[in-house]
Amino acid sequence: MLTWLIALPVIAAAIVALVPRRLKELHLPLGVALAVLPLALAGYVFWVFEPVAGYQFVSTAVWYEPWGISWSLGIDGISMPMVLLTAILVPIALAASTSITRRTKEFVVYTLLLEAGMIGVFLALDLFLFFVFFEAILIPMYFIIGIWGSDRRIYAAMKFFIFTAFGSALLLAGIIALGVTYADQFGSASFALSDLMNVQLSTGAERWLFAAFALAFAIKVPLFPVHTWLPDAHTEAPTAGSVLLAAVLLKLGTYGLLRFNLSLFPEASVDAAWIMGVLAVIGIIYGAVVAIVQPDLKRLVAYSSVSHLGFIVLGTFALTSGSLQGAVIQNVNHGLVTGALFLLVGMIYERRHTKQISEFGGLQKVMPVFAGFFLFMIFASIGLPGLNGFVGEFLILIGSYATLPALTIVAAIGVVLAAIYMLWAYERVFTGVADKEENKVLSDLSIREISLLTPLAILILVIGLYPNVLLDKIAPSTEAALDHIEEQTEFVIPEPGRLGDVLVAGGDEE
C-alpha cells in the first residue's frame, strides 16, 4: 500500500504528461484532481495507523541482492505526520498556482514527481533507497525554481542544487562507509536501516559518520552556517515551490537527523547534542534577528523558517520525550503555517507584483479577509496558545530544559523575537492608512483563495486545541527512539523529560 503512495503521484504525472500541450487549461485542474488521490490514501493510512512503536505497513522487495539493496518501505509515528503533510500541501500548492501560465504542463508534472520523491524519502527504510529519493527530489525542485522563479531564478536554483548536492555527497560517503562496514562485520551486504543499526563502530568512526550525516541534513534544514541557499531559493521560487520547499523539503533535514543520526549513531548523538544545540540556537536567534530587518516579505518568512527550524533541531538533540514529540509535531506545524504564509505572500504578490514591505500599508481596510488570515497565521507562527505553533514550541522548550537548560533559555528569546518581526511586519503592511494609490484598489481574497487557506487554518486550530490527535500516534515512536539511545549509550534521560505523559497532558492545557 505504501508503494502506491509513491506510485500514485508518478502515475498522475504520467497522465498529465500525456495530455496534449494545446489543452492548456486542463493541466492544472487535472493535476489538482489527481493529487487528491495520494491525499486520500495518506488519509486512510493515518486513519488505520496504530499508535504503537515500530514500522507499519512494511513492504519489502529485493532490489539487487548482492549489494543488499531493497525497495523497503514502512511508516511510523515520525514519518506518518510528514507523509500526511506532504499529501495535504501538494494539491493546495498546485491549486494556488493559477498564476503560472506558461509551460503549465511541465510545472504540474514536476510538482507531482516532487511529491512522489518527498513521500518516498519519508517512507524509505533502506538507506540506498532513501538516498535515491533524497537526491532525486533535487531535479524537479531545480526545474521548478529555475523555470518559474523570478529574476534571479537561475542563480538561486543553482545555489540550491549545489548546496544540497554537496550535502548528499557526504551522505552518500557515509552510507557507503556504513554498508561496507556492515558487509565486513556480518559477511553479507545490506543497506536496511534495521540492519545498519547493528553495526559496531569505533568511537572515531561513529563521530565521522555522524558528522557526514549531520552536515548533509544540516544543509537541508538549513542550520546555521549552511543556510545561505535558503533565502535565495525561497525568494526566487514560485509560490508553490516556496510552499513545498519550506513545508516539506526542509523537513527532510530535520527528519533525517531524527531518523538516521539518532538511531544509527546514538553515542555520537549524545556526545554531539550540545554542538547541534548550539548551532540550532544560533540559527534561532540569527534567523529571527535577520528576519526583523528584511525589507522583503518573502525573505522575512524565509528567515523565520531558519529560526523555527532551529527549534526543531534543538528539540531533536535535547533527547527527551517532550522535546522529541515537540520536534515531530513542530515539523508539521511549521509546514502548515509557513506553507500558508507563503501562499499569502504569493497572493499579495500576484496583485501588486511586489513583495517589498515598504510598498504596502493600510491593507487591513482594503483586504480585511486577507488581513485576517495573515494575522491568524502570524499568531500560529509566533506560538499563540490555542494554535499549533504553541504546542510544538512549548513541548520543545519544556522538554529541552531538562537536558540543555542554558540553550533553552536563550532559545526562548527566539519566541519573543518571532513576535517582534512578525507583528512589526503586520503593522507595516496592514495597519495605518493606505496612502499608495495602487494599494487602495486591491481586491480581497477570492473564494478560491479562501478555500485554499481554510483547510490549513482548520488544521492549525485542530492541532492547537487537541494536539493528541497527532501526539498519540507520534509518542510511541519517539519513545522507541529514546529507548534505543538509552540502550546503546550510558545516557539517561533526566527525570522530568522521561515523563512523556505528563508533558502531553501539559500540552493539552491550553
Binding site: 548482492p66 532525486a136 531535479i139 537561475i154 543553482m158 554537496f166 560517503a173 557507503i176 561496507v180
Partner: protein, 488 residues
C-alpha cells in the same frame, strides 16, 4: 562452420575479429566494384556487426563451459596470444554494440561524405577490430597491435572531413600525441619484458608468484610507462590535453564513437594488466592509480566548469569520468569498472548524437548558445539530452548513479575512503557544468531554430536514454553479467 582441426588453434577465440576484418574489406571491395548506395554498405556493416555479436555469444557459452569443468587453459588461444575469458567477451560485446550505435549516430555524416562514406564505415569496423583484439590479448605485443589498429583508424576518422581546418588540426594533434603515447606504451612493455622475461600477462603473474624480485625498479618503470601510455588513450589527467581539441574539432558524427571505443578498450587493458598481470605489485601501483584518479576527477570537473563549448565540456567530463572509472580499479575488482565503462560509453555516444543533431554532423565545435531553448524547440531531444547529462552526473534513477555507487563501494572496501570522498566532491562540482547545459536548454525561452532529428539519431537516442534509465532502475542483469565477466 569452421572445423577445429588442431587443439592449439582455437579459431573461436578470434571469430568476431575475423568477421569484422572481412566485413571491413567487404565494404571497401563492394564499394569499388559496384559503387552502391551508402545504405547498402550500411547494411553490410550491420550484418557484419550482428554476426560478430552472435560469435561473442558463442564465445560466452564456451568460456562458461570451460570454467565449469575447470579447464582454463582451453580459454587461452594462439599460443597465449589471446584469451577468451568472460572479461574479453564482455568487452568485445560492449565494443560491438557501441560500434553499431556509433555508426547509427554518425550515419548522417557518413551519408554526407558521399563516396568517402565507404571509407568511414570500413574504418569504424577496423577500429572495432583493433580494440576488440586489444581487450582479448594476453600478450602485451598483441595488445599493442590491437591498440595501434584501433588508434590509427581513429586518427583517420578524426580527419574525415579534411576540408575543415579544425578537423585537420584535431586529427593531426590526435595522431602526433597518440603515436607518442603508443611509443611510451611499447617502451613500457619492453622494460617489463626486460625485467620479467615474459610478454604474456598470465606468465607475468606466474613470474611474480614464483620469483621474489628484490630490485623491481625496471619493472616498475615499465609498468609506469604502460600506465602513462594507456592513461593517454583513456584521457586521464595529466595526459588529457589532446581530448578537448580532438572532441571539438573532429566531425561530430564520429566523436562519440571515437571516445567510447578508446575508453572501453583502454580501461579494460589497464585493468587486465594491473589486476591480472601484476597484482603482487599493488603496493606500488595502487597509490599511483589512486593519484591519477583523484587528479583526473578534480582537473576534469573543475576545468569543465569554464567551458563554453559543449564538446569541450564533454571532453573534460570524460577526463573526470576516467578518474571515476579508475576508482573501480583502485577497488581491485572488475565488476564496477565494467558496469561503469558500459553505461558511460552508451551515455557518451548518446550525448554526441545530440551534439551531431544540434550542431550538424560534420561540424567542428558546438557552442552552448546553440542549445538555448532546446527544450522548447525540440522537447524530445532536450529531454533526451537532459537524461543523458543527468546520467553522466550520476543522479539516482540513472545508470550513472549505480555505476558510481558500484566503483565507490569497491574503492571504499579496499581501503581508499579518501579517494571516494574526493570523488564525491568532484561529482558535486561536475553537477554544476551539466546543469549549465540544462539551464540553457530549459530555462532559456529562445524559440528560433527548428531542429530536425534524423531517424537514425532518434534510434540511437531512444536506446541510449532507455538504457540509461533502465540500468539505473533495474541494474541487476547488467551487474550480474559484469560480475560473471571476470578476467582469467
Amino acid at each position: 562452420m569452421i572445423e577445429i582441426t588442431t587443439p592449439d588453434v582455437n579459431w573461436i577465440a578470434i571469430l568476431p575479429e575475423v568477421a569484422l576484418a572481412l566485413g571491413a574489406a567487404g565494404v571497401l571491395l563492394v564499394d569499388v566494384q559496384w559503387k552502391p548506395a551508402t545504405r547498402v554498405l550500411g547494411a553490410i556493416s550491420a550484418i557484419t556487426l550482428l554476426i560478430a555479436i552472435s560469435f561473442t555469444f558463442l564465445q560466452w557459452a564456451r568460456a562458461g563451459d570451460a570454467l565449469e569443468v575447470g579447464e582454463l587453459d582451453q580459454l587461452v588461444a594462439f599460443s597465449g596470444m589471446v584469451v577468451m575469458d568472460g572479461f574479453a567477451v564482455f568487452g568485445r560485446l560492449v565494443l560491438l554494440v557501441m560500434a553499431g550505435l556509433g555508426l547509427l549516430a554518425g550515419w548522417r555524416l557518413v551519408e554526407s561524405l558521399d563516396r568517402r562514406g565507404a571509407e568511414a564505415i570500413a574504418l569504424v569496423l577496423l577500429a572495432t577490430t583493433g580494440f576488440s583484439i586489444m581487450v582479448a590479448s594476453n600478450n602485451l605485443v598483441m595488445m599493442f597491435l590491437g591498440l595501434e589498429i584501433g588508434s590509427i583508424s581513429l586518427y583517420v576518422l578524426a580527419g574525415l572531413t579534411r576540408e575543415k581546418t579544425k578537423a585537420d588540426e584535431a586529427a593531426m594533434k590526435y595522431f602526433l600525441l597518440g603515436s607518442f603515447a603508443s611509443a611510451i606504451f611499447v617502451y613500457g612493455v619492453a622494460l617489463l619484458y626486460a625485467g620479467t622475461g615474459e610478454l604474456e600477462i598470465l606468465a607475468i603473474r606466474q613470474f611474480f608468484t614464483a620469483v621474489i624480485v628484490t630490485r623491481p625498479a625496471v619493472i616498475l618503470i615499465g609498468l609506469a610507462l604502460i600506465i602513462v601510455g594507456l592513461g593517454f588513450k583513456v584521457s586521464a589527467a595529466p595526459f588529457h590535453s589532446w581530448a578537448p581539441d580532438v572532441y571539438q574539432g573532429a566531425p561530430a558524427g564520429v566523436v562519440g564513437y571515437m571516445a567510447a571505443m578508446a575508453k572501453i578498450a583502454g580501461f579494460l587493458a589497464i585493468t587486465r594488466i594491473l589486476l591480472r598481470g601484476v597484482p603482487q605489485l599493488d603496493d606500488s601501483w595502487l597509490p599511483l592509480i589512486a593519484g591519477l584518479s583523484a587528479l583526473s576527477m578534480l582537473v576534469g570537473s573543475i576545468i569543465a566548469l569554464v567551458q563554453s563549448d559543449v564538446r569541450r565540456m564533454l571532453a573534460y567530463s570524460g577526463v573526470a569520468h576516467a578518474g571515476f572509472i579508475l576508482t573501480g580499479i583502485v577497488g581491485g575488482a572488475t565488476t564496477g569498472m565494467l558496469f561503469y565503462v558500459t553505461v558511460y560509453a552508451l551515455q557518451l555516444i548518446g550525448a554526441f548524437a545530440v551534439v551531431a543533431v544540434v550542431s550538424g554532423p560534420s561540424s567542428s565545435g558546438s557552442p552552448i548558445d546553440e542549445y538555448r531553448g532546446l527544450a522548447r524547440r525540440s522537447p524530445a531531444l532536450g529531454a533526451a539530452f537532459a537524461v543523458l547529462l543527468l546520467g553522466m552526473a550520476g543522479l539516482p534513477l540513472t545508470s550513472g548513479f549505480v555505476a558510481k555507487f558500484g566503483v565507490f563501494s569497491e574503492a571504499w572496501a579496499n581501503g581508499y575512503g579518501w579517494l571516494v570522498i574526493v570523488a564525491l566532491l568532484a561529482s558535486v562540482i561536475a553537477f554544476a557544468f551539466y546543469l549549465r547545459v540544462i539551464v540553457a536548454m530549459y530555462m532559456d525561452e529562445t524559440e528560433e531554430g527548428k531542429v530536425v532529428v534524423s531517424l537514425t539519431a532518434r534510434w540511437v537516442l531512444t536506446l541510449a536514454v532507455v538504457g540509461t534509465v533502465l540500468a539505473g532502475i533495474l541494474p541487476a542483469p547488467l551487474i550480474d553479467l559484469a560480475a560473471d565477466a571476470f578476467p582469467l
